[in-house]
């Protein structure tokens, strides 16, 4: 599973991307796993901050499923245009 972080979330975590070995889960499940790392991870993924997720480059809701080889991106609400 490839994980990507953007904008303020990337800065808050100090990580841009990582490869992780995790079983199939959901967006919500993956966020809980990341929050459980503690420190800045808990701070960013504790559910208080608005975080959007994209699975294989498509915006999805929190309940969306994630397969072991998916590309998953987390980021704050977008502000383009």
């Amino acid at each position: 599973m490839k994980l990507l972080y953007f904008a303020s979330l990337r800065e808050g975590l100090g990580v841009e991307s990582e490869e992780v070995k995790l079983p199939a889960t959901s967006v919500k499940g993956l966020m809980a796993t990341l929050a459980a790392r503690g420190g800045v991870w808990q701070e960013q993924f504790d559910g208080c901050k608005q975080i959007r997720a994209a699975v294989n480059q498509v915006l999805v809701a929190d309940g969306a499923p994630i397969q072991a080889d998916d590309e998953v991106a987390f980021f704050p609400p977008v502000t383009g245009g």
Binding site: T79, G80, G81
Partner: protein, 150 residues
């Protein structure tokens, strides 16, 4: 149906001309330019840096164009969005829509901007006298998108 993500500036007049002269059955050409303001949320802003999610950005914008095309009787669309560092009055985004009639062209152009604002993966960071800050998403942008739901 064209999408460009680029650091360099664009010539809006040339882009509009190219689209409007592509067919002789075009009656209406709507366009939108978003440009950088020198003030935001009560603070002077000297520069703005746009980050995006390469790969997803192109897909998201193409998907927005497809939705507009499915929804309105329009001929063609163009979206150009810049990334990198910009200064006040710099152009950020251009949307052009051509159609036989103005109602469809106006609706599709505004729809594209409203969807781009809430679903295309761009993020803005502003440089102000108080330091750098990420631009916060606006509730009004979510509301603007929600208007288009059936």
């Amino acid at each position: 149906m064209t999408v460009c993500i680029q650091t360099q500036d664009f010539d809006a007049g040339a882009e509009i001309s190219a689209l409007r002269l592509a067919r002789s059955d075009i009656g209406a050409v709507t366009s939108f330019i978003g440009q950088m303001r020198d003030m935001n949320d009560g603070s002077v802003v000297s520069t703005m840096t746009l980050e995006h999610y390469p790969g997803m950005t192109e897909k998201a914008l193409q998907d927005i164009e497809s939705q507009a095309k499915a929804r309105w009787d329009i001929f063609d669309t163009l979206i150009i969005h810049r990334i990198g560092t910009l200064k006040p009055t710099d152009q950020i985004v251009l949307v052009v829509v051509t159609s036989a009639h103005r109602g469809e062209a106006f609706a599709a152009c505004e729809f594209i901007m409203d969807y781009l604002k809430t679903s295309a993966p761009f993020w803005k960071k502003e440089a102000t006298p108080q330091g750098e800050r990420w631009v916060e998403a606006k509730v009004s942008d979510d509301e603007a998108q929600a208007r288009w739901k059936v």
